[in-house]
């Protein structure tokens, strides 16, 4: 096992810069998830760690060793691809033992390690099958098995669950996490699905347009997003954003576009008339009897356990999430309230967090 260190890693395709100086320290045994929308550079970064893409600038270290110019096979890593990339003409045990066979390991060693990995993944009875005779979830497990058999220093996952149906994805998510808890191998996992990131990661790296936006524990990102991008990306249903202006009286208020007022927390570096973007998580909005905010209900989504409303507030549709059930119907006017400490305030120009 080993740590992975990225120092100002850059990647250009021709004149197009894909990654703008990524710095990241991944500790030994940590499970780090790179998350972001497609085109943000997360897969490229992973492929650079694997050695499948050349490094334009900066340094990549696995353990203490600088690996910029080391071939993929000498980096002591294993990768699980989105398409699984199983060798279609080899059966499951040959697929899993391929790397050991290339290393000219003893047949008994190969059989032992393949057998152990297969047992761990519940593939014992499929060892003689070809990949096309397996279901999607089984193929995914074979791809994992191929990685485990190598006993690498680092596991790299490139959207490994994207090709599975929703139910299986949830199941495999838990399985990968359990596997990591057993093996404790340093893992870097790429996904565009923030739920996957939140549920699996020790730490999440949010990327956007080739820049790292924020690195942190899942709940840290949820509770204190550093900018509007992270705030909007993490969490489902997503955070609501409302433009507002600061109005300082005895207390500090925010004036929304339609003139309604919302109490802001004290002690922030705000002056009268400042423009603001207020971030409000749907579950932090309460239905009140006569709160400060009036809104018209447009859509009601009853989910049984909870109810989601889409309401029009200050000429914007925002989402409200409440536990339990509700009699509120579309067209109703409801009153909303939010605790000042639950608000996230952002600079509307830079998008960065205030306070």
């Amino acid at each position: 096992m080993a740590s992975v260190t990225l120092q100002h890693v850059e990647k250009d395709y021709g004149s197009l810069r894909i990654l703008h100086g990524v710095d990241l320290e991944i500790a030994d045994g940590e499970f780090v998830v790179l998350v972001g929308p497609s085109g943000c550079g997360k897969s490229t970064l992973l492929r650079m760690i694997a050695g499948l893409e050349e490094v334009t600038g900066g340094e990549i270290r696995i353990g203490e060793r600088l690996v910029n110019d080391v071939a993929p096979k000498d980096r002591d890593i294993a990768m699980v691809f989105q398409s699984y990339a199983l060798y279609p003409h080899m059966d499951v045990s040959s697929n899993m033992g391929f790397s050991l066979m290339l290393k000219k390991a003893e047949k008994t060693t190969i059989d032992g390690r393949v057998g152990a990995a297969a047992k761990r993944l519940g593939l014992d009875s499929y060892l003689g099958r070809l990949p096309r005779q397996l279901s999607g979830g089984q193929r995914q497990r074979v791809a994992m098995g191929r990685a485990i058999v190598r006993d690498p220093k680092v596991f790299l996952f490139d959207e490994p669950l994207s090709n599975l149906d929703a139910k299986l994805r949830v199941h495999m998510r838990a399985e990968i996490k359990a596997l990591h808890q057993q093996l404790k191998t340093t893992s870097v996992y790429v996904t565009h699905d923030q739920v996957e990131a939140m549920t699996m990661a020790d730490r999440i790296v949010v990327m956007h347009d080739g820049y790292v936006q924020q690195v942190g524990h899942p709940l840290e990102l949820y509770d204190r997003p550093v900018n509007t991008f992270v705030a909007g990306f993490i969490g489902s249903p997503g955070m609501n954003f409302l433009p507002a202006k600061v109005a300082k009286g005895g207390k500090v208020d925010a004036v929304l576009a339609d003139g309604q007022k919302l109490r802001l927390p004290d002690g922030l570096p705000l002056s009268d008339g400042d423009a603001l973007t207020i971030g409000l998580r749907p579950e932090h909005i309460r239905l009140a009897d006569d709160g400060a905010l009036k809104a018209e209900v447009e859509v009601v989504e009853p989910l049984g356990l909870s109810t989601q409303f889409y309401v029009r507030l200050a000429n914007q549709q925002i989402c409200v999430f409440v536990m339990g059930r509700s009699d509120v119907k579309p067209g109703d006017i409801i009153h909303l309230a939010a605790d000042p400490t639950s608000l996230h305030l952002f600079d509307p120009a830079a998008g960065s967090r205030i306070g």
């Binding site: 694997a50 050695g51 499948l52 071939a71 993929p72 096979k73 890593i77 294993a78 990768m79 691809f81 989105q82 398409s83 990339a85 060798y87 279609p88 003409h89 391929f98 790397s99 290339l102 290393k103 070809l130 191929r146 190598r150």
Partner: protein, 307 residues
């Protein structure tokens, strides 16, 4: 649901009649295609085979049973033609395949101007075989072509004479022309097969520790194998029955040294005017090629099982 036994019996009886109608019905729908296939494929084949049991002379033909086949047994020229056919087919195929594979592997790598090179490489395929035969015959001609002089300059020939006029070397002329003519076929089909290999497979193999040669033998070749078998089979049949180049360049000569079976069939039918004998030889070639194809398809079946 539950039925009384008598009800089931009652329901079963009219079904029998319907079944026989149902058995005929699909064949009626298929009949236009079947009639067309029989008329276009089977009838000429059967007539051709029936010719091989007859002897043709200027104004009449007579039934001679297996006479033409008996004549083949003692025909030394036919024996030579069979050997020539084998030599012509194996040599052409060997070079076409390996050069075509090399070309496909080169064209699979990205480089500047690849599109143009691809288009140029596939040109020989588009040239009519008679034209390429004539061009190559002229290239080998010491009076107008450069090849004999180059071979002489390289020390491969004692004097700059025509390769095609020496019985010992004449076969190489059409073979070289045929290699030039047939490389694009393998390059096109193998390149298409190469393009169908997902790049992630090569990446996975690279991470697993495979060297470029191991990636070729363990990933690329198994993927290409089914395509290779089918193209080699098609190509063998085409080359074995392909007479244009030889006929244009040497007419089977000198001294029968380039006479392959198809050339011999042509000469028998239209020069010796013995259509019966030509048909018998053609049937022999047909049987040989069918046997070859069956063998190769059996091999392919074992390969395809894995992909």
């Amino acid at each position: 649901m539950t039925y009384a036994v008598s009800e089931i019996r009652a329901a079963g009886r009219p079904r029998k009649q319907r079944l026989s109608r149902a058995a005929i019905e699909p064949w009626l729908y298929l009949s236009p295609a079947i009639v067309l296939l029989v008329v276009v494929l089977l009838v000429p084949l059967i007539i051709g085979i029936s010719y091989s049991f007859r002897k043709f002379s200027a104004f009449k033909s007579e039934y001679v049973g297996l006479g033409q086949y008996q004549a083949m047994l003692s025909d030394a020229v036919l024996g030579q033609a069979l050997v020539n056919t084998l030599w012509w087919t194996v040599a052409s195929l060997f070079f076409q395949f390996f050069l075509g594979l090399a070309l496909a592997l080169l064209l699979d790598k990205p480089f500047h101007g690849r599109k143009v090179v691809q288009a140029v490489v596939f040109l020989p395929w588009a040239v009519p075989s008679f034209l390429s035969g004539l061009t190559w015959a002229w290239l080998f001609n010491p009076i107008i072509g450069p090849l004999p002089h180059w071979l002489f300059a390289l020390g491969l020939k004692a004097e700059p004479t025509n390769v095609l006029s020496d019985p010992a070397t004449a076969m190489w002329g059409p073979i070289v022309a045929n290699i030039w003519f047939g490389i694009p076929f393998f390059a096109i089909t193998l390149l298409a097969a190469l393009k169908s290999i997902p790049s992630e497979l090569h990446e996975a193999a690279a991470i697993d520790g495979a060297s470029p040669w191991q990636r070729f033998t363990k990933v690329t070749l198994p993927f290409l194998a089914p395509t290779i078998v089918i193209t080699v089979m098609l190509r063998t049949i085409w080359i074995a029955t392909f007479a244009d180049l030889i006929f244009v360049m040497t007419e089977g000569g000198p001294a029968g040294s380039t006479s392959t079976v198809p050339v011999y069939i042509y000469v028998s039918a239209f020069k010796s005017l013995d259509k019966g004998y030509a048909s018998a030889v053609a049937v022999l070639l047909l049987v040989l090629l069918i046997a070859y194809a069956i063998g190769l398809i059996a091999i392919r079946r074992t390969l395809v099982r894995h992909v």
